[in-house]
Structure formats: structure tokens, C-alpha cells
């Protein structure tokens, strides 16, 4: 075991990095923006949770990377990391209160320093901060030293506590709608955040529930395994029926605002499933995916809107054209990039996306496409006299679209074509040598993805009732890429999970909106470094990315980057 400064060095180094991150988070305004939302009423805000999470993570890492087996050394290192991080933040507060940083950093306001110093005097605040850092270090160190089952329970409990606090705006109204459940609100929530009693109650409840599951889980699973196959099938069917019923009833349960969020998530699921074919299955990184989305929307607008008055078709008559044009453009844009490698392809498709947007925006095509003002008065979708106007109604159209597209993706995955795509993704040359026709296989991937995207664009156009060129910028392509990467490339449930996490959550957290792309960027980098296969990976891709590790899929995610060392 090392002694002296060698033992501390790691902790202090990690602490400095964490302190830098904490200062950065404060300077870009996240702490202040998130301080309005209380996790625990009048106690802990989301901003404080964020900073605390940085400190705890740093201390945990410091404990993990301590050389030698000593528990005391680990604890010491964790405290060193926590203290250093707090000290860096303290120095920042001290400097900020005496110098005017605001000329450069717009978020370096007195309010921020006050928030960071716990609303106290400068000296007391910094002392409190140091104390929190040390306490956090001890907690994180103890957490690291705890037995794995206890660690799992504690992690799950704290995680769900933060989740319940953050999602109050979603959960409380939902509980309130349902008579008996409304009681829960009185138990755990105050006006703004969880009540203190509620937080303790939740911690105990979830902690003991996970402990119970750990003990009884295998027995329950065994019991399920002993059920006869026929019965299991019935149970499975019942499960699916339940899911279907839930999906159908969802807008009625959730109300108007949340249904609107659901429709946006649904559109991203549609887009994500399309891009999933191009990027996830075939491995063609397409950054101009939004172009086809725009083509789908504009086709619907051109064919249905009375404002332009060219055709005045109904949505259903125009939809086949939208998809057809989408597919056609997908193929046309695909042909020039057939021979390009991954990164060339990305830039060329990005260029295509921009060309389409610039053309739509230009005065040159204005008489036909409306220029910057876009096209309005797109009629609603109607079946007979039934009109789909409100988000709660459009939800069903999108749900139908998602189910259809998910089914097609699922069937395609194991088809001859799907396997050809995956072969292409793994190695183009080998795939070609195996007799796969690169041209048609690639073009079919572009065409299928484009078809899904055009469908999504068509629904998007009638949902908004108007289309603008600004809705189709490169950010959309990046968002969709994030959705499928976070969810897991090539994985259908992954796309849905990714859309809910990356599109649904930000819609619910208003203050999050400004930092959305920042977080997306960070998430992309973190995912690639720590868990490149995504949250809900497809089996084959997981094997591909972890093939060098003996443990395969079971290997700890954090060990991902080490193997390249």
C-alpha cells in the first residue's frame, strides 16, 4: 500500500476535475435554472442535486481508483475528492463575489453565488460547502464499501426519489385523476417538491422493495418457470392485451398536455425507427435524415392546403404521394453516396439536408413552397365525419403509425434483407464477397428509412396545421440520432425508450429546454465512452461492441474505454 501524498493524489486530482465541472455547470446557468424546482420541498433543489451528484460521483471514482486494498485509504481518498471539489467551488464563489465576472460570463450573477453559498454569508457558506463536500465524500466512500445488494437498493432508492421529485408535474395530476390514488399526493407531495416525510417514506419503501425482490425474486421467477407452456402463453397474451388497453386508454388517463407530449414522443419514435434502419441496421450514418421528413411534410402541405390551392386533396389521398416522394428522394439522395465511407457519407448527407432546407427557404421557390412563411391551413386528418384534431385524437393516428412501423422493422430485422443490412454494417467488403448486392441493399435501407420518415413528416404537417422551413433544421437529425444511440442502435424497444427519455422528459421539464442540446451532446459522448451499445441494446450489437471482454454483456459498463488503453 502506498503512503503519503501518493495515496491522496488521485483523490485530489479527481476532486479538481469535479470542481471544474461544478464551476462549469454553475457558469452555464444550469444551477440557477434548476434551483426553481425542489426535489424535497423547501429543502433540496434540482440544482443542488446536480452539484451533489457531481461531487458524489467524483468521490466514488476516487474510492474506486485508490491503489491498494485498504478501506480506510479509499474512504480518505473519497473525502479528499469531495473536499477538493468543494474547495474549487468555494474559491469560485469567493472570486466571483469580489471580481465582476459578469462582463464575460452572463450567468455569473450574485444570485448564483448566493445559491451556491446556501443563502448564507460568504464565509459561512463556503464552510458549509466544504462540510457538504466532506460529508458527501464520506457517504460516497461508505457507499462504495457497502455490499453490492445494499448498494443496489440504495442507488435505486435515491434514483427513484430524484425521479419522483422531478416528475411531480407528471405524477401528481395523474394520481389526482384517480380517486383512490389521490391519497398518495397528500402523503408524499407538497406544493413544490416531495414532503420530507414522503421522501423518507419513499426511501424506505423502495429500498426495502428492492431488498425483498433480491431475496424473493429468484423464487418468483422459478415459480413462473414452472407454469406450463400453454398457461404461460395465455399469461403472455393477457400481458400484451393489458399493454394494448393501456396504450389505447393513455390519452384519456393523462389529459391534454401530456397527450401532446405523447404525440411528440410518438413522432420521434416513428422517425427513430426509420433512422434505425439506416443507421442501426445498415450502419450508414445519415445526418440529412430531416430532409425526407421535410419532403413528407411539404408534400402533404402542397397537396392538401387550400392556401396554395393546387390540389386540395384529403390527407388520406395525399399520404401515399408523401410516402412515395419520400422514398423516391431517399433513393435519389442515396445514389450519390453509395460508394462513400462512413464519415464521408455523414457529411454528404448533412449537405443534402442543408440543400433541401435552403431551397425550401429561398425566395426562388417561394411561389410553390411559401418561402420563410411556410404553408398554412393544412386540413386535419378525417375518417368519415370523425376528425382528428386535438392531441388526444391525433395520438391514435400516431400510435397506429408507430405500431405498423415497429412491426415492419421487427419483421425486416430477421428477414434476408435485414441480415444483409447487418452484414453490411459489420463489414462492407466481406458482405460483398458473400454475394450481397451493395447497391440495392443500401438503396433499400435508404428507401425504407425515408418511407418511415415521410410518414412521420406527413402526420407532423397535419398535426401542426402548417409547415415552416425552420422546423426542419439539422438539429432534428441530431435529435433523432441521439434517440437511437441512447436507446441502442438497431434495437426497436431501445428507440422507444430513447424517445421517451430524450424527447418526453425535456418536454416535461420546462427549465430544461435551454440545456437540451447541451445535455444531448454530453449524453452522446458519455454513451459512446461508457456504453456504446445503448440503454436497451440489441443482442448482436452488444456482442460486437464487447467482444473482447471475457464477461461479454455482463461486463461492467465503465470498463468499456479501458480495453483500448
Amino acid at each position: 500500500m502506498q503512503t503519503g501524498p501518493g495515496l491522496w493524489r488521485n483523490g485530489i486530482k479527481i476532486g479538481f476535475i469535479a470542481g471544474g465541472v461544478a464551476v462549469l455547470i454553475s457558469l452555464i446557468g444550469m444551477v440557477e435554472a434548476f434551483s426553481q424546482r425542489f426535489i424535497i420541498a423547501e429543502g433540496i433543489t434540482l440544482g443542488q442535486t446536480l452539484l451533489l451528484a457531481v461531487g458524489l460521483f467524483a468521490s466514488h471514482q476516487a474510492a474506486r481508483r485508490t491503489p491498494g486494498p485498504g478501506a480506510f485509504g479509499r474512504l480518505l481518498n473519497a473525502v479528499a475528492a469531495g473536499l477538493t471539489a468543494a474547495a474549487v467551488l468555494g474559491i469560485f464563489i469567493f472570486l466571483g463575489s469580489h471580481l465582476n465576472l459578469r462582463k464575460v460570463f452572463i450567468n455569473a450573477s450574485p444570485i448564483l453565488y448566493k445559491l451556491l453559498a446556501f443563502d448564507r454569508e460568504l464565509g459561512t457558506g463556503i464552510l458549509l460547502l466544504l462540510g457538504t463536500g466532506a460529508a458527501g465524500g464520506i457517504l460516497a466512500g461508505l457507499f462504495f464499501l457497502a455490499s453490492p445488494p445494499l448498494r443496489g437498493s440504495l442507488g435505486a432508492a435515491c434514483g427513484s426519489l430524484v425521479g419522483m421529485g422531478v416528475l411531480q408535474d407528471l405524477l401528481a395530476p395523474t394520481f389526482a385523476l384517480w380517486g383512490p390514488l389521490a391519497v398518495i399526493n397528500d402523503w408524499i407531495y407538497e406544493v413544490n417538491g416531495l414532503s420530507f416525510g414522503g421522501a423518507v417514506f419513499l426511501l424506505v419503501l423502495i429500498g426495502s422493495a428492492t431488498q425483498l425482490w433480491r431475496k424473493e425474486g429468484p423464487a418468483i421467477r422459478n415459480a413462473f418457470g414452472r407454469i406450463s407452456p400453454a398457461k404461460r402463453k395465455t399469461l403472455g397474451l393477457a400481458g400484451w392485451l393489458l399493454v394494448a388497453l393501456l396504450l389505447l386508454a393513455l390519452p384519456q388517463i393523462l389529459g391534454l398536455f401530456l397527450s401532446e407530449v405523447l404525440t411528440i414522443v410518438g413522432l420521434y419514435v416513428l422517425l427513430g425507427l426509420g433512422l434505425n434502419i439506416v443507421v442501426g441496421y445498415a450502419g450508414l450514418l445519415d445526418l440529412g435524415y430531416v430532409a425526407v421528413f421535410a419532403i413528407g411534410s411539404y408534400t402533404i402541405a402542397l397537396l392538401t392546403s387550400p392556401e396554395l390551392g393546387f390540389f386540395n386533396l384529403s390527407f388520406w389521398a395525399a399520404l401515399p404521394f408523401a410516402i412515395l416522394f419520400g422514398v423516391l428522394f431517399g433513393v435519389l439522395l442515396g445514389i450519390p453516396v453509395l460508394k462513400m465511407r462512413g464519415d464521408y457519407l455523414a457529411i454528404a448527407t448533412l449537405g443534402f439536408g442543408e440543400i433541401i432546407r435552403i431551397l425550401v427557404l429561398s425566395d426562388f421557390l417561394r411561389p410553390w413552397l411559401g418561402g420563410a412563411q411556410g404553408v398554412g391551413k393544412i386540413p386535419k386528418i378525417a375518417i368519415g365525419s370523425l376528425e382528428f384534431g386535438t392531441p388526444q385524437e391525433i395520438y391514435y393516428i400516431i400510435l397506429a403509425g408507430c405500431l405498423g412501423v415497429a412491426y415492419i422493422s421487427w419483421r425486416l430485422r430477421d428477414s434476408r434483407l435485414g441480415r444483409a443490412w447487418m452484414a453490411l454494417r459489420e463489414d462492407e467488403d466481406v458482405a460483398q464477397a458473400m454475394g450481397i448486392n451493395l447497391v440495392s441493399t443500401k438503396l433499400l435501407a435508404f428507401a425504407t428509412g425515408a418511407g418511415f420518415s415521410a410518414l412521420s413528416g406527413a402526420i407532423f404537417a397535419t398535426k401542426l396545421g402548417s409547415v415552416y422551413p425552420h422546423s426542419f433544421n439539422v438539429m432534428i437529425s441530431i435529435n433523432i440520432l441521439c434517440v437511437i444511440i441512447v436507446g441502442g442502435m438497431g434495437s426497436i424497444p431501445g428507440v422507444i425508450l430513447g424517445a421517451v427519455a430524450l424527447v418526453g422528459l425535456p418536454e416535461l421539464l420546462r427549465e430544461f429546454a435551454e440545456y437540451r442540446l447541451l445535455v444531448y451532446g454530453a449524453v452522446l459522448v458519455a454513451m459512446m465512452l461508457l456504453r456504446p451499445e445503448g440503454l436497451w441494446p440489441e443482442a448482436m450489437r452488444r456482442r460486437e461492441l464487447h467482444d473482447k471482454e471475457p464477461g461479454g454483456a455482463e461486463a461492467e459498463p465503465a470498463s468499456g474505454p479501458d480495453r483500448t488503453g
Partner: protein, 354 residues
């Protein structure tokens, strides 16, 4: 039989590409002829376009240097290079603004410009090196899409970090008085700042080229680009050479950023995106991995962009052709990729497939 059908299909795609490319070329020729015949633009107009295009193009060329060198050594597109380009001048803006408000900028313009350049280059270099250390180094042997996606993520993270730090508005770069005004040569005029941009960029590129070609470090970088394993056996530190490449890329991007800010007189957190894609286009135009190619590609792209709208599109009767200049640049990229995928001067990559 199988081979034959395969060959036939390839020809259909190729045929389509050639027809499209030919049609675009035809349109270009037709448009240019019509524009020139109409006589709407006088020679001094064209001279204005030429100088502007050269200035813009030399900035693209400087940025393209970073793309092409990183691609040469790591076989990846450093998508976040556009943010390396943005971060420097945006940070240096605050130095410039402080100089301007204290009057130092007017009393010591050369000294303050030097300081602005130094700050910008230092910040850009810092970003580039951090990027390499945090995001790219752990992924050196990862599957090909992984580093690219990381770079895209890093790009957006940096963009919005700077937005959070400095705000989302446009910041007007202070006016440097000695760079205002113009020189007249008969009918032709050269704006002073455009001349400065062209000269500064040319000097920097020459220095860079000599560095890579003549010095030991430059030689080592070229060796690592050629074959990493062999050069590490020859005693070259791969990591150090990769970091050096990022330092060079960062410095040239930082310098290009200040030139860009002096030319367009404003900075913004999103300012790197379009020039970044253009510079990558320039690198591809010249042949990626090829340093003189990047210079040529940048200047070519700058000229096409400044002259293209008036030359190609005006004659075709297109309204407001200047709005379509970015579309012209990207069409250029596609044309080059169709007709000459290795770029104007050819790729200089030992292993063609990354």
C-alpha cells in the same frame, strides 16, 4: 451470370450519377454564358467577388487544415473542429471589447490585434487538446462510427456550453480602425481588411506547410499518418504526435476564427457550424489528408461561393440567388464526390479504408 447482373446494376447507378452531374454542369455553363451575355456585371463587380472569395476561401483553407491533418492521422472527421474554430474568437471577443472600451485598440492596434490572436489561438488549442484527451483518445480502436458520433456529441456540447457561458446573442466585434478603408486601383478596389485576411492566412498556411514538411516534428506527424505501428517502432511517440496535430489544428482554427470575426464583425455560438462544414468540404475537395489540397480546396470553395450565385444562377433567372450560395457549396461537394472522390489533388492516405 450473377456477376453480370451485378455489373449491370452498378452501371445504372453510375449512369444516373453521370446524368445528374452532367445536367448540373450543363446548367452551370448555360447560366454562366447567359449571365456574361447579359452584361449585368461590370469587371469591377467580378473583381469584388474575386477578392471576397479569396478572403473567405483562405479562412476555409485554414480551418480545413485542422480537418485534413486530424483525418490524416486518426482517420476520423473531427466534427467538433467547428467549435474549436468558434471558441477561440468568441473568447477573444471579450479581450477585444475590453481593449476597445479602454481605447487601447485605437492607440496600439497592432499590439492589441496580436493579443487577440494569441488569446483566440490559445483557447482554440485548449479546446482541441481537451477534446482529444477526453473524447477521442479512449476511442482510438473503437468501431468506425463510434468516434464520429462522439465528435458530433462533443460539437453540440461545446456549442451550447459556450452559449451558456457567453449568452445566445450576437456580439459585435469591435472595429479596428487601421483595417478600415480601401485601396483603389482604377476601377478596382480592395478592402483593407480583406487584403489583411488573405495575406495573414497565406503566411500562416505557408508556415504550417513548412513546419510539416521541413521540421523533425512535422516529419514524425507524417510518419504517424502513414503507419502508426511502424512509426512507433521507430521511436515516435504516437500520443504526442496526435496531440501535436490537434495543437496545430487548434492554432490554425483559432487564427482563422479571428480573421472570420474581423471580416464579418460579429461572433455567435453557432458561428462555427456552417464554416465548419464548408471547411470539411474544402478538405474533401482538395483530397483529404493532403495539406496543399486543403488550401486549394478552401480557396476554390470560397471563389465558387462568392462568384457562383451571380455567375451560375443569375443567368438562369433565379430570384435572390445569393440565398442559395450554401446550396452551391454543397452541390460542389456532391459533384466532386461523384466525379473525383479522391479530391482535386488526390488523397494522401496510405490505407484507403479507415
Amino acid at each position: 451470370m450473377n456477376l453480370k447482373t451485378w455489373r449491370e446494376r452498378i452501371t445504372v447507378a453510375d449512369f444516373f450519377m453521370w446524368v445528374t452531374g452532367g445536367a448540373i454542369l450543363l446548367l452551370i455553363v448555360w447560366g454562366s454564358a447567359a449571365t456574361l451575355a447579359s452584361g449585368r456585371y461590370q469587371p469591377h463587380h467580378w473583381f469584388d467577388f474575386l477578392v471576397f472569395g479569396l478572403a473567405q476561401g483562405s479562412i476555409y483553407a485554414l480551418i480545413a487544415m485542422g480537418y485534413t491533418m486530424v483525418y490524416g492521422i486518426l482517420r476520423m472527421i473531427n466534427f467538433a473542429h467547428s467549435e474549436v474554430f468558434m471558441g477561440g474568437p468568441y473568447t477573444a471577443y471579450f479581450v477585444a471589447a475590453a481593449f476597445a472600451s479602454s481605447g487601447f485598440l485605437d492607440s496600439h492596434p497592432v499590439l492589441s490585434l496580436a493579443a487577440i490572436f494569441a488569446v483566440s489561438m490559445a483557447v482554440s488549442t485548449l479546446i482541441a487538446v481537451l477534446l482529444e484527451r477526453v473524447a477521442y483518445r479512449p476511442l482510438r480502436n473503437a468501431p468506425r462510427l463510434v468516434p464520429l458520433i462522439t465528435a458530433i456529441g462533443a460539437s453540440f456540447f461545446l456549442q451550447y456550453t459556450f452559449r451558456g457561458l457567453y449568452g445566445s446573442g450576437f456580439q459585435a466585434y469591435p472595429v479596428v480602425k487601421i483595417l478600415e478603408g480601401q485601396w483603389l486601383l482604377g476601377d478596382f478596389r480592395i478592402l483593407k481588411f480583406q487584403a489583411v485576411v488573405i495575406v495573414a492566412a497565406a503566411l500562416l498556411m505557408a508556415a504550417l506547410y513548412l513546419f510539416v514538411q521541413r521540421t523533425r516534428v512535422g516529419k514524425a506527424i507524417r510518419a504517424v499518418s502513414e503507419d502508426q505501428e511502424a512509426s512507433s517502432l521507430m521511436g515516435i511517440g504516437i500520443d504526442r504526435m496526435i496531440v501535436t496535430t490537434f495543437v496545430i489544428g487548434g492554432m490554425s482554427a483559432g487564427a482563422a476564427g479571428v480573421l472570420y470575426a474581423l471580416m464579418f464583425k460579429q461572433v455567435h455560438f453557432f458561428m462555427g457550424f456552417i464554416p465548419g462544414i464548408k471547411a470539411f468540404t474544402a478538405a474533401v475537395l482538395g483530397g483529404i489528408g493532403n495539406i496543399p489540397g486543403a488550401m486549394l480546396g478552401g480557396i476554390f470553395l470560397g471563389l465558387v461561393e462568392s462568384m457562383g450565385p451571380s455567375l451560375f444562377l443569375d443567368g438562369l433567372g433565379i430570384v435572390a440567388p445569393y440565398q442559395l450560395k450554401d446550396a452551391i457549396a454543397f452541390t460542389m461537394l456532391v459533384l466532386v464526390l461523384i466525379f473525383r472522390p479522391t479530391g482535386l489533388l488526390g488523397e494522401r492516405l496510405a490505407v484507403k479504408k479507415a
